[in-house]
Symmetry: C2
């Protein structure tokens, strides 16, 4: 791994559940020695990609990221475009909705919305990394991803999140074929126990899949009527977001 | 310059006026040879920090930035906190407002709002880099920055944006002392001809300046009454944002 890749791989360790990390912990989790981590983090800090805070000098993501993010959003405004649809969809269906975005071999939450309709709801986390094989969003994205990415992801050990998580690569490949045929992905308790979600892919700049739109509801609330509405609505809205992203649906999805 | 720094310095070349850049141009603007630029950009692309688009394979900022940005905003929500105040202030004063954020030796626009009150208004650009010496926001931030940063910035050649731009370091240092005494910065046509702006610093996590709040109006509209309102309002709102950012005003600003 080159120096730049090493530095950028350190940024991957930061997450919603671990927004601040100390030097020792970065070294332990990356498998790099402390001197190397220190040098790489200093380079990243110089450009504002990380910053150190508090008496114990913990590292966190820095302000320099924001200029690039504002620039990215101006150029490719998935988040701003998705935000309104995610909000409208949550209101329309009365359940939690979210849009995730794919970046290389990672899928993560970009924006989400809750409905005020029910006292119980599926809750989401910002910037959460979503496993491809265990979520309806991940499966929707994988279905339209390049073969190389699918192979790479399915060749790694797959985390069994719940007793319902599919971890057999050939079973997952069958599922991807089914998703391709019907145009949406579905997961019942595959990521979190008692969460039923449906997802449809979003395409940008041609037929490149850039993420997924999903609705997630507590299993107990999803009767056949709600399930049909969720499936129809998520596909319709994903199509609208795709249009706004100058994306094109694959032919198989284009004529419902 | 180390490899990581070289890679990150390439990201600085992307801007609102130059959101997509080809390999040849990146090489020309960075002074690095094409093979080096290609290798560094490939490392950045692998982590989603840049992506290539179109038939001519231009580079632009990639989706990988967004997960880090969402994480940054969750941890240090300057943009979300500022957004509402920026909007309210634009409505209150009837002029363009914005918040900029400092990252290392750069200051850039984080969010802004227009007022519908007038047909003419100062327009802003997303992710624009603001020169410290030529803008009221930059001067407000410099006033409360570390001496090393002030020295570094004032020791470089200063761009004379308009005939009114201050470019004499000792004159600027005098101005910083005046700003420190009165608590706000002011610029008349220093950045753009016929734009009058006032700015107040925002502090986060203690007495660390993290950016500035500013109001900008066409020079012709700024009579003494409007000017007084702009100054009072920008200071009041900057104080409110500082509170929300768990920042502390320096003692000199704390007792108006």
């Amino acid at each position: 791994m080159g120096t730049t890749s090493k530095a950028l791989s350190l940024l991957r360790l930061f997450s919603n559940s671990q927004p601040e990390i100390g030097l020792t912990e970065l070294s332990r989790q990356s498998g790099m020695n402390k001197a190397t981590v220190y040098r790489l983090m200093s380079d990243l800090a110089e450009y504002g990609f990380v910053e150190q805070v508090g008496a114990d000098r913990m590292y966190r993501i820095g302000p320099g990221i924001m200029r690039l993010a504002v620039l990215r959003e101006t150029t490719v405004p998935l988040r701003s475009i998705a935000k309104e649809h995610v909000r409208a969809l949550a209101e329309e269906i009365g359940e939690t909705t979210h849009v995730s975005q794919v970046s290389g071999d990672e899928l993560s939450t970009l924006t989400y919305a809750y409905s005020a309709k029910h006292g119980t709801r599926v809750t989401m986390e910002d910037a959460e990394r979503l496993p491809f094989h265990a979520t309806s969003s991940g499966l929707a994205v994988l279905t339209y991803s390049k073969v190389a990415l699918v192979d790479a992801i399915l060749s790694k050990p797959l985390d069994k999140r719940t007793s319902h998580t599919m971890v057999d690569p050939s079973q997952i490949r069958d599922e991807l074929r089914r998703i391709s045929a019907r145009g949406y992905a579905e997961s019942v308790s595959g990521f979190e126990q008692d969460v039923h979600s449906v997802a449809a892919p979003i395409f940008a700049g041609g037929a490149t899949v850039c993420g997924a739109l999903a609705i997630a509801a507590p299993v107990g609330r999803v009767n056949e009527a709600l399930r049909s509405r969720m499936i129809a609505a998520v596909q319709e809205r994903a199509r609208m977001i795709t249009d706004l992203m100058a994306g094109a649906m694959p032919v198989s999805l284009d004529s419902p």
